[in-house]
Amino acid sequence: MLRKRHQNDVGLDERRYIGSPVARPNARRLLQGRGTYVDDIALPRMAHVVYWRSPVAHARITAFDSSFARMMPGIIGIYQASDLEGVCKPWVATLSHLAGMKSAVQYPLAPGHLCWQGEPVYAIVAESRREAEDAMPYLQVQWEELPVVADMEHALDADAPVIHPELGDNLCFTRTIDTGNVSAAFEGADLVVEETYHFGRHTGVTMETRSVLADFNAADNTLTVYHSHQAPHMMQDLYSRHLDLPEGSVRVICKDVGGSFGIKVHSYPDDFATVALAKILKRPVKFVADRLESFASDIHAREHRVHARLAAMTDGRIVGFEIDDLSGVGPYSVYPRTSGIEGNQVLNITGGPYRHEHYRAVLRVVFQNKPPMSQYRGVGHPIACAVTEGMVDLAAQRLGIDPLALRRMNVMPDDSYPRTGASGIKLEGLSHEACLDEIEEMIEYARLRKEQRELRSQGVYRGIGIASMVELTNPGAAFYGVGGARIAAQDGATVRLDAGGGISVLVSVGEQGQGTETIFAQIAADTLSMPLGSIRVVTGDTGVTPYGGGTWASRGAGIGGEAVLQASIALSAQVIDFAARIHQRERNGLALADGAVVDTSTGETVVRLVDLATQAYFRPDTLPPGIHPELSATRHYAQRDYPFVFTNGVHVSHVEVDVETGMVKLLKHWVVEDCGRVLNPMLADEQIRGAVVQGIGGVLFEECLYDAGGSLRNGNMADYLVPMAAEMPDIEVAHIETPTATSQLGAKGAGEAGTAGAPAAVMNAINDALVPFNTRLTSHPITPEKILIALGTVSASK
């Protein structure tokens, strides 16, 4: 794995662990099958809840009788919306800074108006899941179907059924960006290219389905929730406010989480219902979604149609972009992060790498009778990047300029920062040029092009697809706090020298496999000069860690890591101070090295940390008067210099298209990613690879298929196609490092860049392969049938 230090390097001293491919200490338990996921936890008198979910997309309940179901063995109770009134408050998912956004009031259980197939309506609580499922067929429910909004293109038609009449129409949110003079710029351009892109709705498919175990102690009025989740403090705040419990009475614990990707950063009506039931029943209640219900109840993402235009001059200069983005979400905006963010980011990120000045973008987010839609890994970036990079390739083709060369001509130069993009994004320091140079070498571009020409003459069609990208990471308060959501944009870490001489690190950012805990240990170990094995990291428990935001928007390393760094620096100063005073040395003649305080001039060990700890904790009688050792330090960090710290990168996909079958073979994939200081290249690289494969899923395989009536047709693991190992390419990753000056650590985020760029690169590769056929594919997922239709082999009959 290649890493090159870029200019603007703020510089941390060379360290032992930071920057090294250290294996994760917390992986050991997972390798032995000894992790603890929510479903592994059993509490005394634990009950199980199964939800009766709407079988249709839009209906109103006309009759309900649970008397037969109640008689089934093991049934503890059957609950409906009215039972939860007064226990759990409803919500409206809007953010004030997304001006004009509207959404209807939503309840944990639908009170009678059913708005999507999969919406939870009735809760069946039983001694076991199977008994609850056995009772389900005996629930007698009748409903009257209502007209369905399942085509976002018609959701705003005058005669469209309005899902929530009180809102007036099906518009959730709209926004426009206009730099002004866009029409004139387009008119004055030598070339205007236009294209429409479609992105199929798809979903996260975490290996561990959504799981929550709620335990309410009626005596103390305290609630403990074991949650498979990314943001425990956010859920603590939500449960506390919606169940009317003091914040200090709610504890949310996230142990091992089996994959999240944003699916588990949201609140769900069935989570609220489960917690409310625990309060009502005064016994623990567990909800583990089964795979079939996950497809219909997890949040979906990425259903967009984008009309795009690009204006350029003959010499290759891109003058402007224009997009019209229509996005079809569910019937409710998702709480509390809303369903407007994804579209908002499409607007902000389109055109991101380039230095054009003219940009106009319109977003309309509309309600539909389909599962709610919200942030999923990449959040808008995959769409923005695919549109941008697709248009750039189209322009390259029309202008007769090599696509790599066209990008070089138009990306923001590496020495031109800080600057603001045409959409308003504020950029600290990126390395598009360096990345393009790096990738050109990695892929041996000239050789690939030569091979492409040769093979074409033999009827073998290979394509090279390039995608430059930007990615927002390390968000400041601009993201949510500013809109009124109680979602922390800061994080805290407590670093402590323990009585036994080890180090405890308690952090408000957790992990779901990314390796964040390992990175925190590396930072603490290096700063305190302690062996990695002596560092114990605790995350994911609101009762234990400092208060913070959790894992999302690729902020774990950058924000959590900085908090750990600052707390570790503070602790090291406190330790040195303590040692100096009791051993009568000058503070600035001492340093930490290999678990001890040492004299920097002689290298002599003054005192080992373990002995300092023993003295502080157990022998205060030996301390000189006035000395009060503090062997614990807590620091919080928020990124406040920019709305986001952007990263950048470039992807290349190499494919072979079988033009007879429409099948695409992924030959290889490359990524050059600049995520600032790379704290652990092994972890960063596999994160990037995992993200690339998720992106490949979206561009080639994954789509939630709905019929005109809003029924899901492929909601199981056999019919919904997630990528498996055999079809995936090897993915080569290299890094350029442009550290951020917004923190001492200099690390930016890396978790989502793979999903952002991969769909664009693969689409571009397919289109590059098909240049001789004068056709382009712009509808994701690009299935074999779509390719055959584009080639004219079959007609679009469906």
Binding site: P21, A23, R24, A27, R28, R29, L30, L31, Q32, G33, R34, G35, T36, Y37, D39, D40, A42, R130, G204, V205, T206, M207, E208, T209, D256, V257, G258, G259, S260, F261, D290, R291, Q512, G513, Q514, G515, M682, L683, E686, Q687, I688, R689, G690, A691, V692, V693, Q694, N716, M717, A718, V722, M724, A725, A726, E727, M728, D730, I731, G754
Partner: protein, 167 residues
């Protein structure tokens, strides 16, 4: 009402005797009756591979086997195989290569990988990918998993590469 049945089998080297409903699949039996949580549920339709365990020495989808069908059989989960040291090489390779993230697929992956290295000691990278494509992973890009398995195959080949004896 259906009849519960008593089954006797060996799980992770220990004899167990338990009463189960016939409809209970092996994973639910292991998790709920025996509290062995390394056996995981991912889909219950036999596709994702998270539930992969060993039945009489071969890997199977635990969600597609009834506990009652395991009467008199030998069942081994990740914990048993791990404690026996049977997976030590693979576990070390997975760890060194970071061939896991959230860990939910890992038990199934390791058991499948163990069967691969036993049955196809000369597997190419492509063959590794094909064999392992019965186990879904959403976190890694599969590459580190393939790399880890390749490492183990190579190490084994080197150890067993003795000169061919003449007859």
């Amino acid at each position: 009402m259906t009849e519960r049945m008593t089954i006797r089998l060996e799980v992770n080297g220990r004899a167990v005797s338990c009463e189960v409903e016939p409809r209970t699949h092996l994973i639910d039996f292991l998790r709920d009756s025996l509290q062995i949580k390394g056996a995981r549920v991912g889909c219950e339709h036999g596709v994702c591979g998270a539930c992969t365990v060993r039945l009489d020495g071969r890997m199977v989808r635990g969600c597609l086997v009834l506990a009652v069908q395991a009467q008199n059989a030998r069942v081994e989960t990740i914990e048993g195989a791990s404690d026996r040291g049977d997976l030590a090489e693979l576990q070390a390779a997975f760890h060194a290569r970071n061939a896991l993230q959230c860990g939910f697929c890992t038990a199934g992956m390791l058991i499948a990988a163990a069967e691969l290295i036993e049955q196809k000691p000369h597997a190419s990278r492509d063959e590794i990918r094909k064999f392992m494509s019965g186990n879904y992973c959403r976190c890694t890009g599969y590459q580190a998993i393939v790399d880890a398995i390749e490492d183990v195959l190579e190490a084994r080949l080197q150890r067993t590469s003795a000169p061919v004896a003449s007859c």
